[in-house]
């Protein structure tokens, strides 16, 4: 795991994410290919999921294996909501709230388990939900040909540009939330729990409350990201909503990018999305190749790509440039 970098960052560096955000927000307006918007949409969703997975695995020490429970529940909540007259925009929030509520309900039993037992305990939950949603059909008549799929109603007026901006906002918010947490009291406590739970408790940290805080935040944002995905692909089924790929994508992105670093999930999500684009035509081979990449990264770069970049000092040059630019600006003001 990578320790928070203590490199002195020039103030100008805070402008960089803002500029990137503005640039990305302009994309739908300048008429870039729709295909690109689609891939960027996926990137933003994976990015939000990976950033939240990293908050739990990289900063809280919780190897949480049930993102698909949050994605599926939020997607279903929104889809079913639109059938009973709830606008999908409200459904987005309602879905995230249901995901967080589910996290709250399961927190007591799963937090009693530690390490690998916690991981396994969370892994079985989406399977149970998948089975439940396969026969539970609260509204609407039986689906043609069986199954329990729902279409998300009323999203036709929502353009690809709108969806793109929504996903971008969710991704940006997830990064911002983690950035704030890490610099606040909460982040200090979470990293203490990650490093040593017993010591944290004897130093006065309320383990349950802090784990629950990060768990709820992750569930809510993962839920909202999942629901946003089902606005873009407005049909949800138990096998898609509770699909294990919702776990594998953020997990791979975080591990490849660098667990326990803020930029890790961003780098990782970009790679995972790019691989999906490259390997789109190869079906099952795509998973195989992604698996090999994962193994190679884990063996050769134990702290992911972000760890490697820090080790070789890759940030020194761009940060140095910003520092020089900052110095010149100050001089001119004087």
């Amino acid at each position: 795991m990578v320790v928070r970098d203590k490199m002195k960052t020039p103030r100008l560096a805070t402008l960089v994410p803002v500029l990137i955000l503005v640039l990305l927000a302009l994309f739908p307006l300048i008429g870039i290919p729709l295909n690109w918007l689609n891939y960027l949409f996926s990137f933003f969703i994976y990015l939000a999921l990976a950033t939240m997975w990293n908050l739990l695995a990289g900063y809280t020490g919780l190897i949480m294996l049930c993102p698909h429970a949050f994605v599926g529940l939020a997607g279903y909540t929104m889809a079913i909501g639109t059938w009973v007259g709830m606008p999908f925009r409200a459904g987005l929030i309602a879905g995230a709230a249901v995901a967080a509520l589910f996290a709250l309900i399961i927190s007591y039993p799963v937090f009693r388990m530690k390490g690998i037992y916690f991981a396994i305990g969370t892994l079985v939950l989406p399977e149970a939900l998948k089975a439940w949603f396969s026969f539970w059909r609260p509204v609407g008549t039986a689906y043609q040909g069986g199954g329990a799929g729902y279409a998300v109603a009323g999203v036709t007026g929502f353009t690809l540009g709108d969806k793109y901006w929504l996903a971008l906002a969710i991704a940006a918010a997830s990064i911002f939330v983690v950035h704030i947490i890490l610099r606040a009291r909460l982040g200090l406590g979470l990293t203490a729990i990650r490093d040593n739970e017993n010591t944290a408790a004897s130093a006065g940290v309320n383990i349950f409350r802090l784990k629950l805080s990060s768990f709820l935040i992750a569930a809510f944002i993962m839920g909202i990201a999942g629901a946003a995905y089902y606005i873009h692909n407005p049909r949800i089924q138990p096998t898609s909503g509770f699909n294990i790929s919702w776990l594998l994508l953020p997990l791979m992105a975080t591990v490849i990018g660098g667990e326990g670093s803020e930029e890790g999930p961003i780098i990782g999500a970009a790679i995972v999305t790019f691989l999906r684009f490259l390997l789109a035509d190869y079906g099952a081979w795509s998973l195989f190749i992604q698996g090999i990449i994962l193994v190679v990264v884990v063996i050769t770069m134990p702290q992911g790509i972000a760890g490697l970049l820090r080790r070789v000092g890759a940030y020194r040059f761009p940060l140095g440039l910003l520092q020089a630019a900052e110095g010149r600006i100050y001089k001119n003001i004087k």
Binding site: M1, V3, K6, R185, L188, G189, T191, A192, R194, D195, N196, N198, T199, A200, A201, S202, A203, G204, V205, N206, I207, G260
Partner: protein, 236 residues
Amino acid sequence: MSETAVLSVNRLNKHFGGIVAVKDMTFEVQAGEVLGLMGPNGAGKTTLLNLIAGVYPPDSGRVLFQGKDITRRAPHKICHLGIARTYQIPQPFTHLLVRDNLRVAATYGSKEGNMSKLDEILDLVDLSKQKAVPAGDLATVSLKRLELARALATNPTLILLDEVAAGSTDAELPRILDIIRQLRKMGKTIILVEHVMKVMVEAVDRIVVMDKGEKIAEGTPGEVMKDDKVIAAYFG
């Protein structure tokens, strides 16, 4: 229980499976006192500290801290009340800087968030120069000091020290004795588990000796060392 007792342990029992770890332990620690806890390996000293710190609940018996029953309370609540502990095998927050290790304890463990005292504490345990180093990079002796510093950062009334001197060279012992003296000057009450005799004899007011989970002797260092049961426990 007497009026001035900070901690009062009352007929405490704990067993793990068929092994009796602590049996009918009863003792008191007075305000400002340094109480030594000794006994052969496996006598139950660390278990006793764990029972006081709330790591696990006793099978029976009570622990009173400043007159308040703290038996079965969660470790973080016991810390908030004013009991801090160190671990025999150092348990730092490995990836956090030395200073951040203390910040955790000061932020979450002390009511007033005594951040301003952290530099003093680092000075006291000779870790000032290493405050910006990840705790995982420290040597064992420094890690033992970090344990002590983290305990102090919670601004405790009572400190449970589990073998802070173990592993130190003879040359380092005077410094440890000096630190314990400083703690006493700060008005801290201390329970000291220690195998290093020199520390025991020079630092403590009173000693409780345990063997096989039971208290076999109690008194000043001089009294205890002459006790037949103690000699039998150590030399068979």
